[in-house]
Every structure is written in C-alpha cells, then in structure tokens.
Symmetry: D2
Subunit: 344 residues, 4 copies
Amino acid sequence: MSKKIGIVGATGYTGVELLRLLVNHPGVTLSYVTSRENAGMRVDAMFPNLRGYVDLTFSTPSDEQLAECDLVFFATPNGVAMKSAQVLLDAGVKVIDLAADFRIKDIALWEKWYGMTHASPDLVAEAVYGLPELNRAAVQQARLVANPGCYPTAVTLGLLPLVENKLIDLDGIIADTKSGASGAGRKAEVHTLLCEAGDSFKAYAVAGHRHQPEIAQTLSLMAGCPINPTFVPHLLPMIRGIHATLYAMLQEGNVDLQQLYQTRYAAEPFVDVMPAGSHPETRSVRGANFCRIALHRPGNAQRVVVLSVIDNLVKGAAGQAVQNMNLMLGFAEDTALRHPGLLP
Amino acid sequence: MSKKIGIVGATGYTGVELLRLLVNHPGVTLSYVTSRENAGMRVDAMFPNLRGYVDLTFSTPSDEQLAECDLVFFATPNGVAMKSAQVLLDAGVKVIDLAADFRIKDIALWEKWYGMTHASPDLVAEAVYGLPELNRAAVQQARLVANPGCYPTAVTLGLLPLVENKLIDLDGIIADTKSGASGAGRKAEVHTLLCEAGDSFKAYAVAGHRHQPEIAQTLSLMAGCPINPTFVPHLLPMIRGIHATLYAMLQEGNVDLQQLYQTRYAAEPFVDVMPAGSHPETRSVRGANFCRIALHRPGNAQRVVVLSVIDNLVKGAAGQAVQNMNLMLGFAEDTALRHPGLLP
Amino acid sequence: MSKKIGIVGATGYTGVELLRLLVNHPGVTLSYVTSRENAGMRVDAMFPNLRGYVDLTFSTPSDEQLAECDLVFFATPNGVAMKSAQVLLDAGVKVIDLAADFRIKDIALWEKWYGMTHASPDLVAEAVYGLPELNRAAVQQARLVANPGCYPTAVTLGLLPLVENKLIDLDGIIADTKSGASGAGRKAEVHTLLCEAGDSFKAYAVAGHRHQPEIAQTLSLMAGCPINPTFVPHLLPMIRGIHATLYAMLQEGNVDLQQLYQTRYAAEPFVDVMPAGSHPETRSVRGANFCRIALHRPGNAQRVVVLSVIDNLVKGAAGQAVQNMNLMLGFAEDTALRHPGLLP
Amino acid sequence: MSKKIGIVGATGYTGVELLRLLVNHPGVTLSYVTSRENAGMRVDAMFPNLRGYVDLTFSTPSDEQLAECDLVFFATPNGVAMKSAQVLLDAGVKVIDLAADFRIKDIALWEKWYGMTHASPDLVAEAVYGLPELNRAAVQQARLVANPGCYPTAVTLGLLPLVENKLIDLDGIIADTKSGASGAGRKAEVHTLLCEAGDSFKAYAVAGHRHQPEIAQTLSLMAGCPINPTFVPHLLPMIRGIHATLYAMLQEGNVDLQQLYQTRYAAEPFVDVMPAGSHPETRSVRGANFCRIALHRPGNAQRVVVLSVIDNLVKGAAGQAVQNMNLMLGFAEDTALRHPGLLP
C-alpha cells in the first residue's frame, strides 16, 4: 500500500528536487506540499517542469494534516523542523529534516553556529545522521533523520576510508570545496544574482562556515579523536554541483589507496570510486544521486589528494533524503534513484 | 522478450542522450554501440555519467552484427545512415535516423542543402517523418523513420494548429529561433568553445539554414500549398534548449487560440499548452521529452506570437527517437520518457 | 578646468558603469556619489573593481551639494529624477536621467506604463531624447537629457535608415530582442538569480513592455506617422549584451541596403555597419560604447533582417550617457569611450 | 618617437588581448601582426571587437620585417619563440615571450615537461623572468623577458611575502588553483567546448602540470632552498579569471600578516592587498592588470589561507607583458594599463 508523504516548505530548490524524484517513486503518494507564503498556488505554476506530474496545490502547514502522513520531509530553513518534529513523531510519523536542526549533537555548538536557541534539544540525541554509507542500519530503524549538509556529504565520503583506518595525519586535513549557486537556495538576494555570481569565482566564509563543525563532528566520531579540518568553501558560476578537493598527508606511503576505497565502497549503490588518475566532473552527477571519487598521489610521496563530486541538490540534499526515506520505509534503497547524470 | 537495440555513432550528444534514456527502458537491451574512431573504448570511459548503467564497449560498425538487432538508431553525421539503411531493412531491422538523410522528400533539394549525392533516394519516399503529433499512425507502421531536426520540431509543433486550420497569412511567417550549443554537436571546433560561444549571443546562417527547407516542407504539406517561412537561428550561451518565437498574422482576429491549441494537443503526451500569458522557459524541459507552448496576442489585433520550447537533445533528437521507437516496437509511447525536466 | 560631476543612485549596474567609464575621463572630477541606503560606505567596498580608482564614500543625496556640480547623472529607479531635476536645472546644473522619467513625451501614456503620476510634466517637453545619432545638435544645447532605454537604442539604431527613408512597410515591423540579465538591475529578486536565469532562456512581457512605447514614439517621429512595432523581449543567460533581430518588408526590392546604412552612419563614431552577411556577436561590444549592425535579405525577396547589438550597460545606458555628457559639456564626443570590447 | 611593435602569433587569446591593450598605448605603433595560417586576413575580421581600432592584416612571420621592430611579443605556442629569439636579439630587437620557452632555467627539466629539445638553451640563462614585483630592475635592463605563466603569477604573488621572509613551513605549501577556460587557449578541442566545460567543474592534471616546476623554481629562489608545493589546477565554467587558494602553516603564530603584505606591496601599482577578511572575486579584475590578495587565518592558529585572483589573460599574460614592455622601453609602468575591471 502506498505510503503518504508530506513536504513542508517545498518552494525552495531542495523542495522541487524532492518532488522531481518522488513523482516516479512507485511506493509513495504525495499528500501534502506546504508553503505558508504560497498557500493556494498550484505547485506546477511555481515549477513548470512538474506540469503533468504534480497535481497539487501548496497548502498552509498544519500539524493535523501532516500527522496523517507516513513520513514528512522538512525542506525548510534552519529552525523550522525543530519546532514541529516532536508532534509528528508522537503521531507516529517519521521525519527527515533536510535543514541543519538535528545534525550537530553538541547543542551549545549548534546554537553558536546557527544563532538561535534549540527548540527540541532532546530530539537531537535521538536523530540519526543520515549518511547511509556510515549509518545505514541506524537509518533503517530511525524515526528522525538529520539529512547531512551538502559539503559534509562530499567531504565525509571522500575522507571516510582514510579516517576510519587512521591512515593520515589527522591534524593537517584541508577541504577546499566549491559549490554551485543552488546551494545558497532560492532566496531573493543580491549576491547570488546571475550578474553577481555568474562568470566569476570567489571563496566565502573562510573565517568559518556552519558545515565545518558538522564535518569535524563526523570525522571525529569516525577517528575516535578530535579532528578539526581546514574548510574553505567557494562559489562556482554554475547551478548544481559540489567538488571537494581534499588534501591529507599519509602516515606512511606504503598504502594501496585505490584498493582501500574500492573495497570500502564495493557494496555502496551510490558511491563510485573511479579508476586511478581520474578527474571526476560535477556534470557526471548532475541530477543523479551519486558521489564520484578519484584518488591521486602527486609529487610529494606522502601527499594524497582526493577528488569528490556530488550534485548538491541530490546526493547533497533531496536524493540522499529519498535514499534515507527508502531505508526508513522499507523500500529498496535505490528506488526512484536509478538515473544517470544529465550530460551534457 | 526484450528487443535488441543498436546505436551507430554513439559518441556525440544525441548518442549519449539515447543511452541515458534507454538504460531505464524495461523492454530493450542495448546490444551494440558503435564508433569507428573509439572502438575498444568503454562507453562509460567517454561518458562517466553512465558508469554503473552501461557495461559496453564501443565496437566497429558491422552490418552483420547490426542485423541481429530489432532496431538500430543512427546517431551519425549526415550521409552515413543512407549508406547502411537498405542492408538493415532487408535484414528485417527497423531503422531510425537522427540525422537528416531521410527528412527531405525532394532529392535535388536535399542534395543542394547537404552538399552530397544521396545514396539511397528510393528509401526517402518510404521513410516516415517521425513527428508523432503529425504522423503517429505512419510511424507505428514504419520500417524507416526520419527523426525530425531540432528546430523543425519546435517550430512545427508551435505552428501546427494555425497552419492545419489555415488561420494565418501563410506568406509572412517568421520563426526567430534560439538554440543552446549542444545543437552543434560534440565536435572540436573553435566557434563552439566555451570562450567563443559563452557569455555572448549571435544569429548565424541568416542567409540560409538546412532546417528551413525541412520546416517549409512540413508546413507546406499541412497547408496544402507552398509555405516559405523566414527562419533565423541564433546561438545561446548555454548547453541545452531551443526557444522558438513564432510570428504570424491571423486572417481574422476572432479566434480562440488558446482553445484551439488545447484541443489539438489534448491527447498528446508530450505537448503541453501552457495557460494563456505564460512564458515557457527552456529549463522547464531540460532533459525531458516535452514541447511547451504558450500563445500571445500583443498589441496589434491580428498579430499572434507563439512561444515554443524543447530540449534540443530530447524532444528535438534522442527523446523523440525513443518515442518513435516505442511506437514502432509496440511499447507504450511514453515508456522511459516519463521524467520531469531538471529545474533548477 | 575640470567639470564637477555628481551621480545620484550609484549602487546599481548603470551607476558602477558610469564610474568605471568616468575614472579615466581627463575633463571631469567625481564630486558626489550618492546612495540613500549605503551612505557612509566606501564606493570601492561595494565595487572592488574600483579599488585604486575611486576614493569616495556614498553620501546621502542633497540638492544643496548636487547644485555645486556642473552635471548630475541620475542612475536611479524610475520616478526619482523627475522630483529633483527642476531644482538642479534652476541652479544651473545640467542633468542626464538614465531612467525613463523624461523619455515619453505623452504624459498620460508615460503615467499608464510607469504606474505613477509625473512630478514635472513641464520638463518632459524640454528634455532632449539623448540618442546622438538622431539628436546630436539638440543634445549639445540641452540642459536636460533623457538617456534612451537599452532596447530602444539597439532597435532604433537598427531601423533608423529604413524608417527615415520610408523604405519599409511601417505596419509589419517586428523587433525580437534579447537581453543579458544586467538589464534587470542589481535588485534582490528571485527571477534573476543565477539559478533561475542561468542556463535557460525565455521571453517575458510579451503582452507589453515599457520600451515598446518608447520605440514607437521615436520611430513615429522619424517616419512622420504612427508606427507600432511588435516588440518581444527575451532574457539571455548571460550578464551583458542586447541583440535585436529586426524584421521588416521592403516596399520595393531594389535598394542597396548596405550602402544606405554605411552612408547614414559614416560619420558616427559609435555605430559600426559590418560587412554584408556578418553576424554581430554581443561580446564584440562587451564593455564598449558601440552599436554593431549587419544587414540580411534571406530568401523572400522583400524581407529584410537587421541584426543590431549593443552592451546594454554601455551604449544602452552609461556609455551613451557619457557620450551625451561629452556633447553637453563641450568635450570631444568620444572622450573616455575609445576602448575595444572585451573579447573573449 | 613611437616604438614599433610586432606580435607573432596573434590569433590566440593572449594575442587579441595584447592588441586590445596596445591600441590605446600612446607610445607604440603596431607594425606587424603575424599568423602563418591566417596571413592575408584582416585582424578585425577575426576579432570584431577591434573594428575601428586595428587597421592591419595578418602577415606571414618574417624575421626581416620583425627585425625592424623595437620590440616583438611572441604570443605563440611553446617552442616557437626559442627558434627566432636569437635572430631578433642580434638585430637589436627586444623580445617578450608569452609562452614558456624561457621560463625554466634548468634545461633538462624544461625539456622533460615540454616534451621537446630546447633550440636556444644559451638564451635561457639571459632571459629575465618577467614578474616585475620580483625582478623590476632586471626587466628594465632586459633584452629578453620570459613572461610568467598565469597560475605562477597568481600563486607567486600570493606567497611572496611569506616565502621571502621564511615565515611558513616550506614543505607543506598547497596551491589549489582554479582557472577560466581561456587559459586553455583558442584551440579546436572537445574538452573546452561550451558543452563540455560549461556548467561543470573538475580538477585536471593533478598528477603533474607544467606550471608546478615554474612555481617551484621561483619560490625556491626566493627562499634560497628547494620548495616543492602541491599544485592542483581546476577548470572553471567561465572565460576569464584565476583564483588561487593557498594554504600554509606559519612557523609561529605571532605575525601581523596584513601589515606584512601591505608593506611589501605598498609601492606596487598592480597588486592590491584587500582589507582583512575580504574575499576577492575574479570579476573584480576582469580585463584589468591587477592581482588582488586577501589573507585569512581560520580556526587552527598556525594555518594561513591566502586568496589571490588575477585575470589570466591580463596580469596572467598580455597585461603583464605590456607592463614588462613599458619597463623595457622606458614608458611609465602603468601606461595603457590603468583601467578598472569590468564589473558586472
């Protein structure tokens, strides 16, 4: 029997991407798609790519209606899901938050980075960090999943085999990351106008970015000791895609990295370890729920360079959320996610 | 039982797009993917988006092997399919040519525009022009389909209801068309480099373009009299998408165009008549097999402006070819084509 | 002695472009650069390209200070200049409005299209429409210049020789125009985000655009009878550049258009009639105060297609404003404007 | 009296950029612009942005004619200048090579990276590495200048104050660099087509890039000991601009980096040290001969991150070449180079 799905806050890019992926999911029915500001508007009037696929109107969020769902996605700004999650969980609804409300276990740290008081700190401990490659079993049992950030997905998957096996100097990790502009969301702001972000390139938030503590938390858990990588994000003049260039120093040079990664990810449906010497392109995962990784050891014998690409809206957001939903609701993990990237 | 499919010349953009669409088709098996130049290379080494989906190696084209297929696509340059089609048809193989070899019925006209002698003029008469919205029944019976050009698809679908009903002045039709750079193919040429075609816009081939006689032929057939529209193509600084802005003068002002178009296309799975006053965006059909149309009557009472968008690689090439294949092989017409556009 | 220049509302794209052009003008000094919202901020903190060239801080607009200037540019939204122009003119200051306040002579028509009551209708009659190719002598004598709109500049220069000489059917003119996103200004809006306007193409305002009556007014004046062209604007996925594709029917076929245009524009420093058969690219005028024009007569004997390109921020706004300033203040017309376009 | 200038191989992007800059230089006359392949073609037929500025035709390169010049630029592929330089120098002509022929002092190393035998190894020792910020006095005296590579310019200027003062761990330097596609030149190749390089991002040549030994040579000379930085280049989906993100570890934390850089570059006309905490955008130097630098010390106390941007065709090629020419011919160093970047 088809599962009833709700999406809260579906007017942003992760929202429309959830809709694009879910319309072809054979096991679910879209029941409610909410937007406080656009209630009453047809969904396909805002997103014409969905004409013929989504016959729904944005409704005002209502806990009562959402409680009828089997699972609810929050594709809302930070600070929204934490206010409604408890009510839904109490009603037996499973919840996936695509924002950051349940990602950071240290409440004080979260409050510092996100600039607000956490409304349901008790749920943070329960929430499972929804990176299936790390927490698959826990996701399957979870009521509440914190869907990872886009940068953390690309960085963590890129470093995971090295950190799990403590093969690198944990002090000197550098994550030089680049993201398409859709990572900034569908917000009326000057700095992401075509005329501002187009045909140009810059770093941003070098002094500190909210995804740094999220990455640090996951790496530290994997290593069993504190890791505090240098994390520098940049804005690409394009729409979709993250490329993480990861630098580390091997503790010893005598490691077959290619074999290590291939073995670690052999059973993973959505992580692709490319042949040695490859240079993954973000477009190879455009619209697709993949992380493609390539390994390099240039010049300096101990230096390793890992290249990791995802589509920030898919494996970095909505696709990973559907992957988590599949695990939580008992569907095959790749349902509705078996599509090649759009190239060119 | 699964149908065996061959693709000749699969190293261009229509080739990789055919592959992207067909990997999820439940009724077909990719048997041969040929490339004279790249024989021996893995397909997914050239197109990494297909890693995990296509486990094939480019082979040298061989009529003997292709004759084992149920249907063969030619995604080759102009002038290739016309040399092999007869052999394959004789062997009982159905053929879809994505190039122009069988589009123009007037052999002399074709030879003038394409600069070569036609190798199989007899087949031109048999070939069905594969615009399902016009020739569905014939396509279903066809052995040989000439897949329409990208501009002709957008222009013809945009004008069809007006021309079929002779509602407009047939002498003054203007098609101002704009295409993304993928229409020029995956060829090493200076004028389509990112640094030449990017961040700029220009018209080209204003003196004459091969798609003009193709459009003229179809419109003339629909109207039953010669039509010779003014056709001006332009190159957009983007990858996918065609936008046709079509200008005509109504014979009389008292027509409900919106109703006319909605009725004409009511049963069409891949033509979407948008609400009056809409402005279709090419991105709404990115990667999707749709033509979206909107109608306007600005200012001047008799003037009609039709806006028509497609993805040139999908409804303008590979998607339409798969739609034709579905009709020719007896699959549901929309098999493997039910996907929303990628937005943003 | 150096002329004192003020710029009101210099935080938009026409403002920064005025600054970029004027920093190398040997005859002027930038005295006041105002912005109500950003008063107190260094100009080069907002526009880092000006670091080392502009040592000014945005100030709050003050009629008293502006009255010290020799000439003031209004790079403000529509409706601002009309409130201050009289005061400045009374103080002997010359004024160039880059917005639309003084472009339309018919006050009622202006008020209909711009949705506000005109604050100084008396000045509209005095204002000179600042297209030097049409009104050079008047501009030289003017106290108040209405700088033309971007589309009207490209369209009018493209049609001028045909209309002045009444060589075409005045009823059937079509202007299919395409603009980069900078034409929409530096405003926080969703529809011009990189993720909305990038990698896509659409028409907009087909039902009616404010530049249509401006074009109609100029063409009608030139022809001495009412002309009401069909005008359809489109949004290009790039930053700078307008391309107008202009369609008309010659009254008789026996005209040497190339000669006509070359003669008409022979003495013009900023209009370039390209060789017959050319396809002007917008990038050839990127950052440059040029209009490049090419003429075509495809197929149909009476049909003429004119291609006209400008940089919307230069010849379509700030560059033309500087050209007007040079005429008004007695400088050589091309001072500070002699730079090739930035290609690639 | 005006100096006579020749440009050999002016059909690439550095060639057209030299022309764009030199047309406004008051002290030079363009005498010869050569292209073996396009001899007889007007320069402005290939580069229409130069219409009205360059009234020359490409000629076949001739040592005899070039010997009449005061200075000749080689904007040719690697391996061309080394064959002609000696003849020109013997004739008293000064030479600036924009390619790599004279950049690497170690002939064997050069031959390994560039895959050819050096034709004039004796001149390599004489050639001055044309980074004025490092070698101004030597450039002023030079007959032969090796114009630096684009990446080396951005990286070297970004690291210079740190390396000169040996403030950082010289073993762990990382240069994560990103370049627009114009760095690959105006060559008919598939991988830099709009449809390949557009709307995507990737690293390339991670195993080794020719600019790595050039950077290593300069840094080693500055430090007085061997430095072998990790250098990873990436391809940006845009035309112009390089962004270098440079990582190093300070030997001790107690350094005022901002002061150090401001002092080092205080007298430099084309290096701009931005305020602490800035994020330089490549567009701020689009078309301009600037290097903009910003300094960051995020998180980890000893970690320093330097952001350095240039326009690869200007400060990274043609602009720097003109700067060197000005020094060699006795013009003011900034002649023809005083223009703000084109923003937006």
